[in-house]
């Protein structure tokens, strides 16, 4: 029985939360000052640790997240720092993990749970669709479910079957779920902190091929910025949500991408620049809620767009984006919007994935097709 675990003050709670910002700044002092090379994995790990310091109702659980630190090491060290009560392994049962998290959220906690891989989350689908997504609505907001379901997703790592699915469309299609997916190391930190602070359930899709991507990032500065926002109160968790980023400005056409496709889109834009074409790259960041404003503004400016995603194109997030842009930008378009997505086949075996995944060449071909001659 730990006296340090209290009820979240922001949802379903009646006991005030014990905030421990001092502890977070203690963690900060151990870090080198200024921008450093940081991996996405480290940024996510730091975000979890800082959130657990800041709010004792934040709990982390799932499969292999305790002693091992997760198969991708995202929860590394959390059990050692916070104890087995706050970061622990569960039996191997995904529906059980999500269902128990629902109950914990009902009873004042903020669970952050890990689905080990995209395709291993499917046993939990009923809990996610029937309860996580619907509880707030069916109780008219009397019951809030401030929980985060972290899902490593996407391919590009030579993984075997069931380890490389892009499952974001299932969640994005379900009313009542927020769907976040970071594409930069800094966003990994920012967006996970904001997801944990959110009173709505968030499906947090982590592009697994980017876990080892390094950027020069000042984690201390990100932490300070986040803690300042939290201290202001009501605006917590709303700096990234619904706000797409212009990852690279350009004038000739817009590449719209999210998660693992953002670096591919940026590489394509770099290559296009060498050929004299200026492509703007939009990083969607939160699929739900979607930032129509930023995306439409870019397409209105450039008049041409390609949507890029690893997931199968049929009935997907990419089809939704095309539909939304077409509805809002029809009179500004010089060409039909193109998509570069995974083919409509089950995710292929490792030696075939390079033919399946959207790559720079396929993106440039699509850009070439945007009716430039007239």
């Amino acid at each position: 029985m730990s006296p340090t675990i209290t009820t979240s003050s922001e949802a379903n709670g009646n006991v005030s939360a014990a905030t421990a910002r001092a502890a977070a700044s203690a963690a900060a002092s151990a870090e080198a000052a200024g921008p450093q090379p940081v991996t996405m994995a480290k940024a996510l790990n730091t975000a979890l640790s800082d959130a657990m310091h800041a709010d004792s109702s934040v709990l982390v659980f799932g499969e292999d997240v305790g002693m091992l630190g997760g198969v991708f090491r995202i929860t590394d060290g959390l059990t050692a720092t916070f104890g087995e009560q706050r970061c622990f392994d569960t039996p191997l049962a995904e529906s059980g993990i999500v269902g128990m998290a629902v109950g914990m959220a009902i009873n004042g906690m903020r669970p952050v749970i890990e689905m080990q891989f995209d395709a291993f989350a499917y046993p939990a689908f009923e809990q996610i669709v029937s309860h996580v997504a619907k509880m707030h609505n069916r109780t008219k907001g009397m019951v809030k479910l401030p929980l985060v379901i972290r899902i490593p997703y996407g391919g590009g790592i030579g993984g075997v079957e069931h380890h490389c699915d892009s499952s974001e469309s299932y969640y994005a299609h379900t009313a009542g779920l927020k769907v976040y997916t970071p594409a930069t190391v800094a966003d990994g930190y920012r967006m996970l902190r904001e997801a944990i602070d959110s009173d709505d359930p968030v499906i947090f899709m982590e592009p697994k091929k980017m876990y080892w991507t390094k950027d020069s990032v000042d984690l201390g500065e990100l932490r300070r910025l986040h803690e300042d926002t939290r201290a202001e109160g009501t605006t917590a968790g709303r700096n990234s949500e619904g706000k797409a980023a212009v990852a690279r400005p350009g004038t000739d056409a817009t590449l719209i991408a999210y998660g693992p496709s953002v670096p591919t889109a940026l590489a394509a834009a770099e290559a296009a620049a060498l050929e004299g074409r200026s492509l703007e790259v939009i990083d969607v960041r939160t699929i739900v809620p979607f930032d129509d404003e930023t995306v439409s503004a870019s397409v209105r400016k450039t008049g041409r767009a390609v949507v890029i995603a690893e997931a199968h194109g049929f009935a997907s997030v990419s089809s939704e984006i095309v539909a939304r842009v077409q509805e809002r930008c029809f009179h500004y378009l010089a060409a039909p919007i193109r998509r570069v997505t995974g083919f409509d086949v089950p995710y292929p075996a490792p030696k075939l994935e390079k033919y399946y995944l959207p790559g720079v060449d396929r993106i440039l071909d699509a850009v070439d097709d945007l009716q430039w001659e007239n």
Binding site: M1, S2, P3, I5, T6, T7, N12, L59, E84, Q85, F88, T90, P91, A93, S95, G96, V98, G99, M100, A101, V102, G103, M104, A105, I106, N107, G108, M109, P111, P123, E126, Q127, S130, H131, K134, M135, H136, N137, R138, T139, K140, G141, M142, V143, K144, A175, G176, K178, S198, D199, D200, G242, V288, P289, F290, D292, E293
Partner: protein, 407 residues
Amino acid sequence: MTISADHTAPDTTSTTAPDNALTEAVKKFGITVEDYMLPARHQIQMVDPDGRLKPEGEQGTQPGHEYPVPGDKELLEAYERLVVGRRVNDQNSALVRQGRMAVYPSSHGQEACQVAAALCLSDGDWMFPTYRDAVAVMTRDVDPVQVMTIFRGDWHGGYDPLKYKVGIQCTPLTTQLLHAVGVAHAAKLRGEDTVVLAMCGDGATSEGDFHEALNFAAVFHLPVIFFVQNNKYAISVPLAHQSVAPSLAHKAVGYGMAGERVDGNDVVALLAVLDRAVKLAREGSGPLLVEANTYRMQAHTNADDDTRYRESAEVAEWRAKDPVNRMRTYLTGRGLLDGAAEERIAAHAEDVAAQLREGLSEDVPVDPQELFRHVFAQPTPQLKEQSAMLADELARDAASDSKEAGK
């Protein structure tokens, strides 16, 4: 009781929960851990269908499975709640026939289970009911009309789960058992002595979440009582198609918890078994499974035709085991119930029925804008757009209606 012989269940709290009941029973009666966890050889029954208290030796108890008869005050309250519950069931079915409610899955015949499930809990405890457990929810003193909102058709739920510590009346089978596990786990982490009672039916024990919930509760050693109302049918499919286990209570031992089966139409035995289960769970015994042997006297819902899958003789056989009549005979025989008390109780039941008739006859105005209000804590820009679209559509409809009227 978690088995700790071969694979110690990790206790996530720093204090080890004392398995007093288990240790005591094993020591006192010289029985094995398995004997303690397995249900007694016969179901626990204290009052027979004719309303007679059974001799102690014939109640189905055995060493380690002994239950004192609950006190008179508790029994009288249970009887009053039984009468009210029966009236609620029949009133609601009538309201469906009159078209005032879309549907009502009645617990007629299962009122003893409904009443005992609620009365065994304290105010700080939680209950996780199913769609058929409206009477149990009302016995937890939730406003009857709020309980029936789910079937009235204007929203998916009416009462505040946090205020009453009663989960939503869950439709997807056994998904709520995991929520019960989570509520118990959160309480345990904070050092609270909350007990959680999670309800499901016999058919639901086939679901995967049933297994996951029992296993999680056992592994994390949580104070959850899994209360299975075995009413013999899952819509039309009989129990024999769901499970060939010796009993549903026998499933407990596979998870390392104690199981018991009890006559589900005998509220005395139900209270005795559930009261002890709550006490053990609160003292740190971990989860328990209680199977109540009862019968769904009516069709699954008004939309179902039970003559297609069961004989009326079978229904008649169970009518003779009615839980309300049995308790009335027993209490009258013991001199605890007289005409005046009966009258007062009947009047109470009529009050509740009137409340339901009144609350459900109201044509509750619905607000179309409410569609968008509760999806998230704050509506997204997309929901705001859709909300404006609907408002505009409705305004245009209203304008054209008034134009029509003006002609």
